[in-house]
């Protein structure tokens, strides 16, 4: 589904990704772990197409198509979703409006009919119920005055509504207590299917107790230095990143 080949990227002229190669097949969940500053968030932004994150060499194929040629909204419509580490506040825009606009924009881009307000309300109510999120959140402005946990839950809600094929989760666990963590993980697990894949970026092993990965990669200084199965995550937790880099 996603083929990353020798990807180099710079931010503000500084090289952050120094040759990443990673292959993710449909149905797989990959975890990327690594110390702060390793380039984890940069990887997720490059894949989502954020301005200022410049690919200097290498390529990324998504469902066989050159991903790097597409604008962020085109990538979104084709099924790439990034759950942000720091979800952004949009004052004055109710979450429900935001979600409906996004949902319909993606449908339109795919040539599907847009849904009306009633249909949408029904759909979103199902999702909030599934995830145990209060409907009250839909009336509030996007992420404004949300607690850290609420912001992350809102990301998961958006993801379960948009039903992406490729989920990118950037430190979704940071700032979450254990209950919120379970809700977030539950949202991802519900979407897990043979047609979908996920790239879970995390600093701590804890999230991986709930979202069990098929593969774990360690990112350090812009490169993947080690790959393995889920036991690698436990090993890292025990010994720390320093031991690994030293080895």
């Amino acid at each position: 589904m996603l083929e990353i080949k020798d990807l180099h990227a710079t931010v503000g002229g500084k090289e952050i990704l120094k040759g990443i190669t990673l292959s993710i097949k449909a149905g797989e969940i990959h975890a990327v772990m690594g110390p702060n500053g390793a380039g984890k968030s940069t990887l997720s932004y490059v894949l989502a197409g954020r301005d200022g994150y410049e690919v200097t060499s290498g390529e990324v194929l998504y469902k066989g198509e050159n991903l790097l040629d597409l604008s962020p909204d085109e990538r979104a419509a084709k099924g790439i979703f990034l759950a942000f580490q720091y979800p952004v506040e949009i004052p004055g825009v109710p979450s429900a409006t935001f979600l409906k606009t996004a949902y319909n924009a993606q449908r339109k881009a795919r040539g599907e009919p847009e849904v009306d307000a009633m249909e949408f309300l029904k759909l979103i109510r199902e999702k909030t119920k599934e995830l145990g999120i209060k409907d009250d959140m839909l009336k509030r402005a996007v992420n404004v005055g949300f607690s850290g946990g609420e912001k992350k839950r809102n990301e998961v809600l958006q993801m379960s509504l948009l039903e992406p094929d490729m989920m990118l989760l950037d430190e979704t666990d940071s700032g979450l207590d254990i209950d919120a963590l379970k809700i977030a993980a539950d949202g991802v697990n519900r979407l897990r299917s043979p047609e979908r894949a996920a790239l879970v970026i995390t600093h701590y092993q804890r999230l991986l107790d709930y979202i069990v990965p098929d593969f774990v990669h360690v990112l350090a200084d812009g490169k993947i230095v080690k790959s393995g199965d889920k036991s690698l995550a436990l090993e890292l937790e025990e010994k720390g990143y320093a031991a690994l880099s030293a080895a």
């Binding site: 909204d73 979104a76 990034l82 825009v93 935001f98």
Partner: protein
């Protein structure tokens, strides 16, 4: 022609200068270029006005001659040659497009984006015959308006062109015209008083709640706005009216200078809600062309518990100079000002309000949202004055500016004058930028760059958009997006 002949005689009788002037041209529908006492007389005669109104116009003209053009606003434009303007021309009937095929496609594109029905598009674009089609009930809004007019008459509401009111209700016009905005008020108000040719008059009798928003009616009639419009609305005791001026559809007008005057009179326990959507031609992205919109709008809350609210969405014009104001004279009277001013490319806006508190327990609210993009300059200028007798008066001002890009400017100039020991005045101001982060977040969820910008800016304006009559709020939201096109990337 009988009328025209009488007019000639009338004009000749009031001014012997006509002998040497343009009297041979009297049958033409346009007065000669430039401004003089003769022109003022000509306009008054054409309108068959009573003597008192001519006298008032002449006083205004003579006063105007003694005044200088104001230069304190944060706007820059070449000097206006007031002798190079036509002050009277009959409604243009020639050279109308025959069908929408002949209308500027760019204009039609905007109509489409706003979701304006095809029939209505024809009227707005001035397509020949569109009005006729309209009247015989093909065109919903107009037939609705006709029905509404009957209902208004039943309630005793007077709603007509101001020239008609001068003829049919001279006592009301004479009593109130210039009572809120005297001709001595400012340069453009004086000019307007001397040469105004059209506008609306509205009187809501005591105890009447106007059975409809006057907006529906106006949407259609706004298609022919005058250069020097004069509007006068009087809400008698315990009455209520909601009035919408302007149109979300863009207006192309050959007249570059627009200097309107709007006067509102609100009596005891009465309320006027006045909403404006202004979308005149702003000029191109290099600042060529565009309307100069120099308007004086003022409301006087004369009785106890009187209430007025101004809501404005200003997206058009090359230059906007406009301060809808409230004189809170009656005890417990309330003034509100809700404003969205969007400037893009080379547009300049210097707009705000004046809240003059005279009575006890008067209160006012100001919410101003200024958005600047491109190389535009957007200034909020507001005055809050608490008079000596304004016991326990309160004002709350929120003034937010939003910047898009790094070549535009936002300025906030609040003036506060307080002579009351017990008054409370609060002023909040913020300036923010649309962040790259917000745009990326929206785009990642599937919105295009322009949709993202429109969503973010609409969120910023939400408190004000909510104050608009329902039917216009949706269009105004779309308009916000359209006026910012080309501001990103």
């Amino acid at each position: 022609m009988v009328v025209a002949r009488e007019t000639v005689e009338q004009v000749a009788s009031v001014s012997d200068k006509y002998k040497y002037g343009f009297i041979s041209d009297i049958e033409a529908d346009t007065a000669p270029i430039g401004l003089s006492e003769d022109i003022v007389r000509f306009i008054s005669a054409k309108k068959e006005e009573p003597e008192w109104l001519l006298e008032w116009r002449l006083k205004a003209y003579r006063h105007w001659l003694t005044m200088v053009e104001p230069d304190w606003a944060q706007v820059h434009y070449p000097k206006i040659d007031f002798q190079d303007i036509y002050y009277y021309s009959a409604p243009k009937t020639k050279d109308k497009p025959k069908s929408l095929d002949e209308v500027d496609p760019e204009l039609l594109e905007v109509y489409k984006k706003l979701g304006i029905p095809l029939k209505e598009q024809e009227v707005l674009a001035g397509v020949e015959g569109a009005h006729n089609v309209a009247v015989d009930a093909v065109f919903d809004s107009v037939s609705v308006a006709t029905t509404f007019k009957a209902r208004l008459e039943k309630e005793g509401v007077i709603f007509c062109p101001i020239s008609e009111a001068v003829r049919d209700h001279p006592e009301l016009v004479q009593k109130y015209i210039g009572s809120v905005v005297p001709y001595t008020d400012n340069y453009y108000a004086a000019l307007n008083s001397a040469v105004f040719t059209d506008g609306s008059f509205c009187y809501i009798p005591k105890g009447v709640r106007c059975p409809m928003e006057l907006s529906t009616y106006f949407r259609i009639n706004a298609a022919q706005t005058g250069q020097f419009e004069r509007t006068l609305i009087i809400a008698d005791d315990e009455s209520y009216v909601s009035y919408l001026e302007g149109c979300t559809a863009p207006m192309r007008d050959e007249n570059q200078l627009h200097a309107a005057v709007v006067e509102l009179v609100i009596m005891k326990d009465a309320e006027i809600k006045y909403s404006t959507v202004q979308n005149w031609y702003p000029g191109d992205e290099n600042g060529v062309g565009g309307i100069y919109n120099f308007v004086t709008k003022r409301a006087a809350c004369r009785g106890e518990n009187a209430k007025v609210s101004w809501t404005q969405v200003e997206t058009g014009s090359a230059i906007t100079w406009k301060y809808p104001s409230c004189i809170l004279q009656g005890d417990n009277s309330v003034g509100e000002f809700y404003s969205i001013a969007i400037t893009n490319n080379m547009q300049q806006a210097d707009t705000g309000t004046k809240m003059i508190h005279l009575g006890k327990n008067t209160s006012s609210t100001i919410i101003s949202k200024g958005i600047s993009a491109g190389k535009a300059q957007n200034t909020y200028r507001g005055l809050v004055r608490m008079g000596r007798k304004a016991e326990n008066a309160r004002n709350h001002t929120v003034c937010d500016s939003l910047l898009i890009g790094d070549k535009c400017g936002a300025h906030t100039v609040p003036y506060i004058e307080n002579q009351s020991r017990t008054a409370t005045i609060e002023h909040e101001a913020t300036t923010s930028k649309v962040s790259e982060e917000q745009l990326f977040y929206c785009q990642q969820r599937g919105l295009s760059e322009e949709e993202s910008m429109a969503l973010i800016v609409n969120g910023f304006c939400k408190e004000v958009l909510q104050k608009l009559p329902m039917e216009f709020a949706v269009e105004a939201q779309k308009l916000v997006g359209i006026s910012l096109e080309g501001s990103v990337g």
